[in-house]
């Protein structure tokens, strides 16, 4: 009996250990605010052929064990990638603008379904120069999306590849490949007879493989997060100490600038906004912590009673705003 127990234990050790493999190459600065188009992903089989798999199993219809699958593996992976890219400095094009345009570029079939073979064969330069106005394109491939059941053990496995290609040079700026899996059942130390039977079934819950994909993709995209964003929670946000402007009685005189001053944390990016009228008028740091900006009104411009708000941004993109309490300004 002891020998059988030992045999089971050693057989299951591979399922217990963290079996994920993550590889990446990075050939650009993650701080560079590239405008990126994330194209629809493809799902391929072991022969490299594109397949259509909605990722669902029969067990997804049993609500006590699993949840109904709303998104295919490719749709879900793309959605997770977009959410994770929010934590980087990249400027991401709205996917819906891409998806609406692809059929008009002969990259979809008559029924509206994307022609993935064609989409993946078009070079990044064509996308960015012809219709998306971007600096790079992200291609994503789902190579594995498996939920397997072995009676006393179930296993979820995902394998994903992401490639960021420069539109200018067609070079691979970033590439990441990851394979990760997670088991449920005998390998995870069941606490009773019921859990021996139930846990493998619960391991087939579609939410678990979605969680696995989310964690895998988050880890894949970690190199793209700028160094500062990884520490943003530990440092204080930027501070503004004093602000003022020089519009006497709130009147801006045509031909003369409105000058706005701010005393704040040094080495930040400062700008000011005049109500809803004009945004992001740049301010320059003339000496440490002293910022000055000018709004030069054009002859055609006019506005009434707009308040001035200073914005200070740090390298982690955290923003502090302060309204100038000298009162609103008008340009007549």
């Amino acid at each position: 009996m002891k020998n059988i127990q030992l045999l089971i234990l050693f057989t299951l050790i591979p399922f217990v250990s963290c079996s994920g493999t993550f590889k990446h190459t990075l050939d650009f600065s993650p701080n560079e605010p590239l405008r990126v188009a994330v194209l629809p992903f493809k799902h391929i089989d072991s022969d490299g052929k594109i397949i259509e798999d909605d990722g669902s199993l029969l067990v997804d219809n049993v609500s006590l064990i699993s949840s109904e699958v709303k998104n295919s593996p490719v749709a879900l992976s793309r959605k997770i990638v977009l959410a994770e890219l929010k934590k980087t400095s990249l400027d991401i094009i709205s996917p819906v603008l891409i998806d609406i345009d692809l059929p008009h570029r002969n990259l979809a079939f008559p029924d509206g379904k994307f022609n993935l073979e064609k989409i993946f064969s078009v070079p990044a330069k064509t996308y960015c120069e012809d219709f998306l106005d971007c600096d790079a394109v992200l291609f994503g491939t789902v190579k594995k999306w498996d939920r397997s059941y072995y009676g006393l053990q179930s296993n979820n496995e995902v394998e994903i590849e992401l490639s960021l290609i420069s539109a200018k040079t067609n070079k691979i700026l970033f590439q990441a490949t990851a394979n990760d899996s997670e088991g449920h059942g005998l390998s995870k130390g069941p606490t009773g007879y019921a859990s021996v039977i139930l846990e493998p079934l619960k391991g087939l819950d579609s939410e678990l493989i979605e969680d696995l994909a989310r964690r895998t993709i988050a880890k894949m995209l970690e190199p793209l997060r700028s160094k500062e964003s990884k520490t943003k929670d530990t440092t204080p946000p930027p501070a503004i100490f004093a602000v003022s402007h020089d519009a006497i009685n709130g009147e801006i005189i045509k031909g003369s600038p409105l000058t706005v001053l701010a005393f704040a944390d040094s080495d930040k990016t400062a700008s000011f906004t005049i109500g809803n009228y004009v945004r992001n008028v740049p301010m320059i740091e003339t000496k440490a912590g002293h910022y000055i900006g000018e709004f030069w009104p054009l002859p055609e411009e006019k506005f009434e009673a707009q308040s001035i708000t200073i914005t200070l941004k740090d390298s982690n993109n955290r923003i502090t705003k302060l309204v100038v309490d000298s009162g609103p300004v008008s340009l007549k």
Binding site: K86, D133, K188, T191, G192, L198, E199, D233, E301
Partner: protein
């Protein structure tokens, strides 16, 4: 009955008791989002909408609130909705109630607004277990306030040795993962997904943006006075235009005539014309086109 048969019977009784108990708990605990849909929602052809950022909530940092807002945006976009740019919404709506929302129709042809009202959030880690939760309500409304879709939910995530019976090793693994600073991302993601899961997808083929292709047809750089430079571009009317420097900081060019956007700036430091500058014309929905001012 032999001793073996008796022990087998007892074993089966125990197994069936545990299975029934677990199933009962699952039934009682399987609470999802409470969703209300107006009947006309399925017939309506909504594609463009404005997303009002969630109102601030104690205990939720601005960055976390922005992240949650972006999750809603991506979820809406994955269903085919085209969402008004954040910049425009934050400039237009002074608070989460957006009292001047009726002007959205006139300016951006928006008929519906979406918003999330965060009610509470908590994150508790007590070494042998953890419990995270977030609750709130999402609604999609017409500009007159009539609700087309609303969903409220409290999403809970718990685990660890105390709260996750059934698998000892998995409980320990989950406990260590909860210590990761991004652990709330999963909770936020699941929360948003649960709120929007019954929102219908946009019907394909409703509209396209090809008719609104953006163009910059002209760029003029002229001295405004001895120290200030005037920059003007010509392009599609009723968009937003920007001067952008190498650090991706932006300065607005105002539309002074239909399709003509200008600004006068002292171009120094990172804004100097000897640096890499470009002008951008952006639609309210994220489309853009650009022109380099000075190729370095």
């Amino acid at each position: 009955m032999s001793r073996n048969n008796l022990s087998k019977n007892n074993l089966f009784k125990k197994i069936s008791f545990f299975i029934n108990f677990t199933l009962l708990c699952s039934i009682l605990c399987s609470c999802g989002a409470t969703i209300n849909k107006a009947p006309e929602l399925d017939k309506k052809t909504i594609q463009y909408l404005a997303l009002i950022p969630p109102s601030s909530l104690e205990g939720v940092s601005r960055e976390r609130a922005e992240y949650i807002n972006e999750l809603i945006r991506y979820e809406l976009e994955s269903k085919g909705y085209i969402v008004l740019s954040n910049d425009i919404v934050s400039n237009f709506c002074s608070d989460s109630s957006c009292s001047n929302r009726k002007n959205l129709k006139e300016l951006y042809n928006i008929d519906e607004i979406a918003m999330l009202n965060l009610e509470s959030t908590s994150s508790n880690d007590f070494l042998l277990g953890y419990y995270n939760s977030i609750s709130g309500k999402f609604s999609l409304e017409k500009l007159n306030g009539e609700v087309l879709y609303s969903a409220s939910n409290t999403y809970r995530d718990s685990g660890g040795l105390i709260l996750q019976s059934g698998q000892v090793i998995q409980a320990i693994i989950n406990q260590s993962k909860n210590g990761d600073k991004d652990s709330m991302d999963k909770v936020n993601y699941k929360f948003i997904t649960s709120l929007l899961k019954e929102l219908p997808n946009v019907k394909k083929g409703i509209a396209n943006t090809n008719n609104n292709k953006l163009f910059i047809t002209d760029l003029k750089i002229t001295p405004y006075n001895k120290t200030v430079t005037k920059i003007c571009i010509a392009g599609n009317p009723s968009q937003s235009a920007w001067l952008v420097n190498e650090k991706n900081n932006t300065a607005e060019l105002k539309e002074i005539n239909s399709g003509q956007y200008c600004g006068a700036y002292r171009l120094e430091g990172t804004w100097s014309l000897t640096n890499k500058l470009k002008v951008e014309l952006r639609s309210p929905f994220g489309d853009l086109t650009h022109l380099e001012v000075n190729k370095k």
